[in-house]
Amino acid sequence: MRIYFAQVKKNIGAHSIFLGQVRNDIINQQEVKAIEYSAYNEMAEEKFHEIREDAFKKYDLICMHIYHSMGVVNAGEISLFVFVSSAHRKEAIKACEEIVERIKKEVPVWGKEVFVNENHQWKINS
């Protein structure tokens, strides 16, 4: 079996990718139907930029893409996408993991968990 991939940078040896997805958790017998994300946009953009620059300084990376969904994201849909490419797998894997952890901790984004019955609660990151 061969897998084709539209990638012209032939010095890349590894891509490490993370996708965060909204879960339909049951909390006090209520099912989460969506998370509504909001952000302090100007500060979030600066933080994403800082996280990106730090990763390029710390790891030997070739390219990187970060997307965070905003607004209503239904259960089963993707909220976060981090894609890191490097010559070597260890750099790509470590960088991707670190970027995901920093986004969770440092970027001013808030998730409001909306239940099927339209109640809501504010998400807490683990």
């Binding site: 302090y40 500060m43 965070h68 995901v100 970027v107 409001k112 504010w122 990151n125």
Partner: protein, 77 residues
């Protein structure tokens, strides 16, 4: 002197707006006091304060046109 205070997430719900304009607050401690007096529910909540997009670790003098943000715990991702 005019200070913009941006509020987000659960705190925006409590304050019932996303932006307050305050006058005559000399530093972040005084701002914090005023907010907790006006909105007692804030006393039970954890939040950070950013001044001009940088999170502060201790009391910070405010000057005209500063933008302060009240940030509940982040929950992106």
């Amino acid at each position: 002197m005019k200070i913009s205070v941006l509020v987000f997430g659960q705190i925006a719900e409590i304050v019932n707006t996303e932006k307050l304009i305050l006058q005559n607050v000399k530093d972040t401690d005084e701002l914090n006091e005023q907010l907790k007096k006006e909105y007692p529910l804030l006393q039970k909540l954890a939040y950070s304060i950013a001044v001009n997009k940088k999170i502060i670790q201790s009391n910070t003098i405010l000057t005209n046109e500063d933008v302060v943000a009240i940030l509940p715990p982040f929950s992106g991702g």
